[in-house]
Symmetry: C3
Subunit: 272 residues, 3 copies
């Protein structure tokens, strides 16, 4: 298999274990998007890998959010695969690839990090270490990469409203109760559970898994057009003076750096 | 701000705290509908209030149901805003207004009371004091003001069938497990939690909240036509001799009055 | 009432208690399908029975899955009612009949057994005795009789993916958390709870229940065309050499017989 930039790959028969390792805090930027483009191309061939498990090499951060200084750059890379400069459509494409994808979550997933795990087919999280947030409302934005689409369908109108408008942090236990994830489990059990599940699924005939994926997505995956509308609203809002001012303010407080603002971002956003 | 008839308003910057106070038992009648029409008109302007918190001044009743002796009257008032004599469409209009709406529930919400809180964007309830019921089936009716639409989407086919056909009372804990509400919490914590959440959301840019609301509703809010069909079925059933007889019978047992029939209405409906 | 072959019927005013009794392990075969066809014809008349409660006479098995040696035979019987040799459309027809249907589940429901209880309007299960599985993926197949349609809508994309691709066993508690069933309850309470609920609903006017059912199904019941697509994929896969080999292998291990393979089928499928 080819080299990846920030994803560490371990192959075990038909299962790929993909650990995201992008110091210091696993921001989603050009490196990770380039790797996702490469990985989706491999998975789309459908002849070798049945299951992919995404995890993080950083115990505090899975994907905390995008690198807001490199949006144009990573979007351009996404366009190589999906034909449009859109992280949103790249995520949707991941949801449609021929492998079953599992997110094994410890650390923070917020914003486009949350949307990444939502684009996976399943989500299991560490009770002690996983933290969830959909933080765009704090900046005056709509979640632009599938967050509205997935969360509204997974948890219903009321809980999606709360999670998205509050822009605050949610524990793994509450994320489970709300349907954000499949299950929260003790950190000590998470890796064995997910690995066993991945190996189990990988023993089953591939065409059946592909058919199942196609049929579930036919019901539960929003249209590309819906993704585009959200993405355009997100992009348009980045030009608002109030949105710009809020990004400037949070960057001055340590946004994008390892430290207490990123660790407790829900709290920090409430004080902007 | 103008005077309201049965809603007590407290303004705190961009948050409106709206307490329903319509003695003796907070029935939904002409007064409350007139106030809702006025309030929606204010919120629709979108220039001042970002969040509204609805609560009840009566610890036993939030909105127990409509005043069945004044249906024509309150429908006529609703028509002033929505162009049709329909509580159903008034509720749908509330779900579309420019403010984020939160129901802080203690006491009973049944029938159109349940449908009122379902029309809000979020619902938090007192573990000790909130009681939920969708009681129309006991009278031979379909919930006519959004109950079928919201409950089926929030809790799925099986639980919606149970809740709607049983016409019985549900605790806040079970309402949470079923997805009827966002969360049940200890009564002592409810007010602080909801107020803090409202204030937090009200710090965020308004246009983003409006966009989020529009995008969630595009997925989760049923069409006006679906509301009309339910409402028409409800209205048509009121003419059935069996439905009339059941209303007559429950009225003779203390329906609409403060007392044990209203307090334990689920039980009383099972004995009709 | 006419004689049934494998369903034992007890009539109590407007409630039918229907106990499935098809030794040795309650496989779904020609007898049960013939009885379902007869029962749906009776219920469709809509003049006598308001509620049906399905339970099992066998404490270990509710419906473990279809009799894989008699697929053509039971499909032909289904065609007598639905015009196509399709268990899938028979189940969908059950979901649309004029009675409210409740599954009272103890023992195993897997594959088309799970899909049978999903076709019912509500599901209550014994915490100690009920076991759930959607096992088609282990054979390289899509659940063909509504499993994909119901599970994706009831539990959302992530949990539906897990349940369907894992082909493993789920406890009643986890089935409740995932929305597969309404509620798990102690075995000692299940029968009284379900019987009381059935009797309560049966006291309410029938036309209202019929209207409610029609309105909930308009939202939550998938189209016949969607059922057909799943069913066709299931059927097509039965011709794959890999699928055939896996059925042969599990049959050699005691599939369809009372014993440890059927009791622990989730485990056995992981070792195929």
């Amino acid at each position: 298999m080819q080299e990846f930039e920030v994803i560490k790959i371990r192959e075990e028969q038909a299962v790929l274990f993909a650990s995201i390792d992008n110091p210091p805090i696993n921001l989603l930027g050009p490196g990770l998007v380039r790797d996702l483009v490469s990985l989706i191309r491999i998975l789309d061939q459908g002849d070798k890998y049945k299951v992919v498990v995404f995890s993080s090499a950083n115990p505090n951060y899975f994907i905390p959010h995008v690198d807001v200084t490199k949006i144009a750059e990573y979007r351009a890379i996404a366009a190589e695969l999906v034909g449009e400069p859109s992280l949103s459509l790249l995520y949707r494409r991941l949801s449609e690839t021929k492998a079953v994808t599992i997110a094994q979550i410890a650390g923070r997933v917020r914003g486009a990090g949350s949307e990444f795990v939502l684009a996976c087919d399943m989500r299991f999280a560490s009770k002690e270490k996983a933290i969830f947030g959909q933080l765009e409302a704090a900046f005056g934005q709509v979640p632009g990469s599938g967050g509205v689409q997935h969360l509204t369908r997974l948890m219903g109108r009321g809980r999606a409203f709360e999670v998205i408008t509050s822009s605050t942090d949610y524990s793994a236990d509450l994320a489970e109760r709300y349907g954000w994830i499949n299950r929260a489990m003790p950190d000590a059990e998470l890796d064995v559970f997910v690995s066993d599940l991945a190996r189990r699924i990988a023993r089953f005939p591939h065409q059946g898994l592909i058919d199942i994926k196609q049929r579930i997505n036919a019901i539960a995956l929003a249209s590309a057009e819906d993704y585009r509308i959200d993405s355009d609203l997100f992009g348009k809002a980045t030009q608002n003076p109030e949105t710009k001012a809020r990004y400037k303010s949070i960057l001055e407080k340590g946004f994008q750096l390892d430290g207490k603002t990123e660790l407790n971002l829900g709290e920090a956003l409430g004080e902007l």
